[in-house]
């Protein structure tokens, strides 16, 4: 049996553990042996994106050692996976990089491209709006970015079609950045908040009950500006645990 290593990013581990649980449950239900390597901490993205290349390199090496023995690395965060899958090329030697890059997947990407479930036996009788976070969209190509002249596809929408009762309502500027940007939200606080409020206004206009995304970092940023926001990670819906407490 293929062994899947769960990569649960630091903020998901401490703030959104239920998203980790949803990821674990759905992978187990699809018949994988799922392991959580206990020494994992952070992929190093905040350091790499802030210019601390040496520190990021150390954490990339650590990540490699923590995860090298598994067949797949799967995480419920597109941004962290894009760091590992794409940007580790600047931090690891080419052999280590291609090894780790080829087996790293964002959970929805993994379900859509590798597992390919035909049904999930889950219902969710609510309306949602789908925020298409940047790194999943433009780096992992979970959907077709509007900038490109390519046939439209959307892996998240394809997966959500398996859910009974769920309705996706159109969201204006669904592919525009929410303004989080990691340390950008600290360095350029005013602009970050402005972008966040614009995203929240578009969500409100959509009329949907839930704002759904594949990156909790974006949702955390938006919830910090609107504490009443009802938001979910896609995997909570797909795993059928959106309405459950853990």
């Amino acid at each position: 049996m293929k062994r899947v290593a769960l990569f649960i990013p630091c903020f998901v581990d401490t703030i959104y553990p239920r998203v980790g649980v949803a990821t674990l449950k759905i992978l187990q239900s699809q018949g994988f042996e799922v392991v959580y390597p206990k020494n994992q901490t952070c992929c190093g993205q905040p350091f790499f994106n802030s210019g601390f290349v040496k520190e990021a390199k150390d954490l990339a090496e650590k990540f490699y050692n923590d995860f090298k023995e598994y067949d797949y690395i799967v995480a419920p965060s597109a941004s962290c996976i894009s760091m590992v899958k794409l940007h580790y090329k600047d931090l690891l030697d080419s052999d280590k990089f291609s090894e780790i890059s080829n087996k790293s997947f964002e959970i929805c990407e993994f379900l859509h491209d590798i597992v390919k479930p035909e049904s999930l036996n889950v219902s969710f009788n609510h309306t949602i709006a789908l925020h298409q976070s940047c790194h999943g969209l433009r780096e992992l190509e979970l959907a077709t970015p509007s900038e490109l002249n390519l046939p439209y596809q959307n892996k998240i929408e394809n997966l959500l079609k398996l859910i009974d009762g769920l309705e996706i309502l159109p969201l204006s500027n669904a592919q525009e950045c929410c303004g989080f940007g990691g340390t950008f939200s600290i360095n350029e606080s005013e602009v970050s908040k402005k972008m966040g409020y614009d995203k929240l206004a578009n969500f409100k206009d959509s009329g949907a009950e839930y704002l759904v995304g594949y990156d909790n970092s974006c949702l955390m940023h938006l919830a910090s500006l609107e504490p009443e926001l009802k938001s979910l990670h896609v995997i909570e819906i797909l795993a059928g645990v959106a309405n459950e407490s853990i």
Binding site: Y36, G51, R138, S185, N187, E190, K193
Partner: protein, 426 residues
């Protein structure tokens, strides 16, 4: 950076241009192949720049164009001045050229008693307002027509009326100028000819009326041949404004009888980027401005919040390459959403370059907050220490959190049990 005072309006204006670009680009089935081709042509040209520049110079000289080389902005300005002196010129009409902005040619000439009239409508507006362009294609995009009316000393703020006012005034300047200065969009090596693209015909009118035409170009404007020109003209206007092509795309090959064409080829730091795997891609830029129109940060702050002459994602890269201490901060003014990279007609990996410049900045500029990053990274490298500290993190007081992430924000609640706790309890 500060949010623009009427950010909704600025955002909508720029988003409208981006939408027009999307529509135009999606009419061409081979758009993505064209981008790839354009990127490859530029990559090839950049790595053979010496050959193409020499070929271009030889052909241009044979065509009767006087070619000058300027190592930096100062030499560029001096060459312009020497040509003006030789012709005893006092008045210059200038069509849009970001290179002359980069070299600060206008103040250089004005301080020496020359009269310089910008003839692109947007450029003329910001010149009269004593501002700098806030966008490389739409220099006055930050101004509303009511503000333009004030700048023109007019009561009527109707756009057509104001355009006619500018047109009538500019016509007098065109007729009385001694020299016309233009930028260059493309220099075709195989022909020794150069191309100037405008929508207003101001470059054409200026160069037709004046006896002397001074064109200025950066060394990266070179392309190998006319077939390549077709690729770039297909991409440029569509990316810039959503037009199929600029209204005027004029090829200058040799001077008319009794007239002179001078071409100044400028380095001004560009050659430093050559040979750098990470950064030389920025030399592919054809200055379409699409990365500005799509950038969610640019659309909310406007071009004047960037302290480099070229704003937006490409400007933050070019500025950082020029002077990392002075402009490197701009590399941090991005969420790294990657829309700039996806929209770029020559496929410059703009957002990845911004990240790389952040690394260069950190090697050159030390800040007090660095120690927090370094300490945090050290903690994250040691799982046991990290885990014990995270157990304490739920006791972090809210004021400390607010200090870190700013006012107006409500802290996310740490879960009672981490995922690791949950996993280990199974």
């Amino acid at each position: 950076m500060r949010v623009f005072n009427d950010d909704k309006w600025l955002n909508e204006s720029l988003s409208f241009v981006r939408e027009k670009r999307d529509i135009a680009s999606k009419k061409l089935d081979n758009w993505e192949q064209l981008r790839e081709l354009a990127s490859n042509i530029k990559a090839h040209t950049i790595t053979h720049l010496d050959n193409y520049l020499e070929e271009f110079e030889a052909k241009a000289l044979a065509n009767g164009i006087k070619v000058h080389w300027a190592v930096d902005a100062k030499e560029h300005n001096q060459i312009v001045e020497s040509i003006l002196k030789k012709h005893n010129a006092k008045k210059i009409v200038k069509s849009k050229s970001m290179l002359t902005e980069e070299c600060e040619l206008n103040p250089y000439l004005e301080n020496r008693g020359y009269e310089v009239i910008d003839t692109d409508l947007g450029e003329r507006i910001v010149q009269l307002a004593k501002q700098r362009p806030s966008h490389i294609v739409l220099p006055a995009i930050h101004l509303k027509k009511e503000q333009v009316a004030t700048i023109f000393n007019e009561q009527n703020s109707d756009a057509t009326y104001l355009t006619n006012v500018a047109r009538a005034q500019l016509r007098e300047h065109f007729e009385s100028s001694d020299v016309a200065i233009t930028g260059v969009n493309f220099a075709v090596a195989s022909e020794g000819a150069f191309v100037v693209c405008t929508n207003e015909g101001n470059a054409d009118l200026g160069t037709s009326l004046a006896n002397v035409h001074i064109a200025v170009m950066g060394i990266e404007k070179i392309i190998p041949n006319m077939q390549d020109l077709g690729v770039f003209l297909t991409l440029l206007a569509r990316s810039a404004t959503g037009q199929d092509i600029t209204t005027y795309s004029s090829i200058f090959k040799k001077p008319s009888k009794g007239k002179e064409i001078h071409l100044i080829i400028v380095d001004n730091g560009r050659s430093q980027m050559l040979g750098s795997e990470k950064f030389e891609g920025a030399l592919k830029c054809i200055r379409c401005g699409a990365c500005m129109n799509t950038c969610p940060v640019f659309r909310r702050v406007g071009g004047h919040e960037y302290n480099y002459v070229i704003p937006g994602p490409i400007g933050s890269n070019l500025g950082s390459s020029r002077n990392i201490e002075k402009y490197g901060k701009l590399a941090f003014a991005s969420t790294l959403c990657g829309s700039c990279t996806a929209v770029c007609p020559v496929k410059i990996n703009l957002h990845e370059q911004l990240v790389a410049y952040r690394g260069v900045y950190k090697l050159n500029v030390k800040e007090s907050k660095d120690r927090y990053y370094k300490l945090t990274a050290k903690i994250l490298a040691k799982p046991k220490i990290y885990r014990s500290l995270m157990k304490l993190a739920k006791y972090m007081p809210h004021w400390l959190y607010k200090r870190a992430w700013g006012k107006e924000r409500v802290a996310p609640k740490l879960a009672k049990k981490s995922f690791k706790d949950y996993y280990e309890s199974l």
